[in-house]
């Protein structure tokens, strides 16, 4: 992947933003030494980039996250360090924005600065999420996020998956959906994510595959 200085990930809640953010930060680190991952999720306190803290430390990736993430405090607190991603121009960052328009609201504080900067904001879509099963509902969510976050999307990431039950077919069946959304939004389909183990099976069949490691897996 080619990364701008700031890469924002937004979309419907549960579309898989956090998992992509973690994987992209690892990928970005290979290209840019000064890499940070920022967690601006103010909506859901349950799945956080903080879960991968040890991994980031090992890889030398700076983690910017609310002091209250993964605690019992359920308030929409933003990390004060988040200003670093806009003010320190030497940092390349991946920004995990919270779900839906409510999550994107937190961006509004930074959007005037991000808009002037070298940035991408990717819309993460998952065909298999119940409230974004068709292009119409994705268009609705997209407009709501852009309005709340005061930023325009620049591309789409197809993250269609069924968790541990994902097969190559699962991914292939989502391509028409992703294409339709790309056409209707006029945005490029930046990549289609796939778990590493399915990469070989799909290579050549899907353009711009982005292989990922699943960072969190529930008990069997």
């Amino acid at each position: 992947m080619n990364y701008k200085r700031i890469t924002l990930l937004a979309g419907h809640y549960g579309s898989g933003k956090t998992n992509i953010a973690v994987n992209m930060a690892l990928d970005l680190k290979k290209q840019q030494d000064n890499t940070a991952i920022a967690d601006l999720d103010i909506v859901n306190p349950y799945f956080r980039t903080l879960d991968s803290k040890d991994l980031f430390e090992k890889e030398g990736i700076r983690l910017i996250v609310s002091a209250y993430a993964n605690t019992n405090l359920d308030i929409p607190a933003l990390p004060q360090e988040m200003y670093a991603i806009v003010h320190d121009k030497t940092i390349h960052s991946i920004v995990d924005v919270g779900g839906d328009d409510r999550g994107a609201l937190a961006l509004g504080r930074l959007s005037p600065l991000i808009r002037e900067d070298d940035y991408d904001m990717f819309l993460v879509i998952n065909y298999y999420r119940p409230l974004t099963r068709d292009a119409d509902s994705v268009m609705e969510v997209t407009a709501e996020i852009e309005e709340a976050g005061k930023l325009k999307f620049t591309g789409i990431i197809n993250n269609s998956n069924l968790g541990a039950a994902t097969t190559a077919e699962t991914v292939l069946d989502s391509l028409a959906y992703a294409d339709e959304i790309a056409e209707r939004t006029g945005l490029p389909l930046v990549c289609t994510t796939v778990e590493e183990k399915l990469y070989d099976e799909l290579a050549g069949k899907v353009e711009n595959l982005f292989p990922m490691k699943l960072q969190a897996r529930p008990v069997d």
Partner: protein, 348 residues
């Protein structure tokens, strides 16, 4: 989808068109889902001014004979408990979801099972029970929601889906390939007399003590029928088991891994997973107490279900507790170690 979403979608499939609630982590996705979906299908979503208001709106819709639900998490269920008692006293069907979090008090937002007593004993004041269903997968969140509506209507009482933050938040594929039964008639509902029948009265106040006593006895006769016919439970590798784990919900999933690990290492371990917590699968526990050397109750509480396990087994075998609380979840290793220890001691 998420467990919370599975509940919401299943409720819609079951014909529920009325949802009243108030946001609280970790169940807010239910309300969020309903807020998006209900207006599109001619239903009602209302974020009430409080939990107490929400449960009383449930009372109102249920009185009119329509399927209705509310959802909350532990502290919110405490607020709703007065309404739960009134629903019971008025013999009204309703579906209530509790995605439990750590307590007591405000506690924390992480998963817990420490509302077992509250749920299985009714929650509010007076002599009554709710049917308590304990899902341990996202699929069961959907299945048991539909079952909950059916049982609630059939027996004219509240069915509670007692989930926890983990199952509410985690994502798994769900099949909605259900056969939804036709809703039963509710001749008691306050649907308007159209001057053709006597007024129906929905009420929990009985001025005559003899009448109130009679109503209570009748209600408990109905509870006996439910105990006979509606108890649900999964028995896993129990028939020859020396060490049996008792666990429900997310604790049962963790425990199943531990049981498999124990079997792989030559220990005869099994799992009893109550799916209905009330009625409690007493007979299944009594049966296996005849051969098991020890029962370990694995809970996300300081030991609540363990009391029902002891009652059901008449204390014939030692029943011990393996728990994590405060939002923490036992690991399969922790449960496995408890099995190994119990096996070495041989129930002594």
């Amino acid at each position: 989808m998420k467990g919370n979403e599975a509940i919401a979608e299943a409720a819609i499939q079951a014909g529920c068109r009325h949802y009243f609630g108030y946001p609280i982590t970790p169940q807010t996705e239910i309300a969020a889902y309903m807020a998006k979906r209900m207006p599109k299908i001619g239903g009602t979503f209302l974020q009430a001014e409080s939990e107490i208001a929400a449960i009383n709106m449930v009372y109102g819709v249920s009185s009119a004979g329509k399927r209705v639900m509310t959802s909350s998490s532990s502290p919110g269920i405490s607020l709703k408990s007065e309404g739960l008692s009134y629903l019971a006293g008025s013999d009204l069907p309703a579906l209530v979801v509790n995605a439990q979090r750590g307590g007591p008090g405000l506690g924390g937002i992480q998963p817990s099972q420490s509302d077992y007593f509250q749920a299985t004993r009714g929650g509010g004041h007076g002599d009554y029970h709710m049917i308590v269903l304990a899902p341990s997968s996202v699929q069961e969140m959907a299945d048991l929601t539909i079952k909950g509506f059916e049982l609630a209507d059939q027996y004219r009482m509240t069915a509670m889906v007692l989930a926890d933050g983990t199952i509410g938040q985690m994502m798994e594929p769900v099949s909605f390939d259900f056969e939804i039964k036709e809703q039963i008639a509710k001749p008691w509902a306050t649907t308007g007399t159209k001057m053709a029948r006597k007024h129906n009265v929905v009420n929990s106040l009985y001025l005559n003590p003899e009448q109130l006593e009679k109503t209570n006895f009748e209600r408990y006769e109905r509870y006996e029928v439910i105990k006979q016919n509606e108890t649900l439970c999964e028995e896993y590798l129990c028939d020859d088991a020396d060490i049996i784990i008792a666990a429900f919900g997310i604790a049962a999933r963790v425990s199943k891994n531990a049981v498999n690990e124990a079997r792989a290492n030559g220990i005869k371990a099994g799992l009893i997973r109550p799916i209905t917590l009330w009625p409690f699968p007493e007979k299944v526990f009594a049966k296996h107490a005849e051969h098991a050397k020890q029962i370990i109750s694995v809970e996300l509480s300081m030991g609540q279900m363990i009391e029902d396990v002891r009652l059901a087994t008449s204390c014939k075998v030692p029943v011990t507790l393996c728990c994590r609380v405060g939002g923490m979840i036992p690991t399969p290793d922790q449960v496995y170690n408890a099995i190994v220890e119990a096996n070495e001691k041989g129930g002594k």
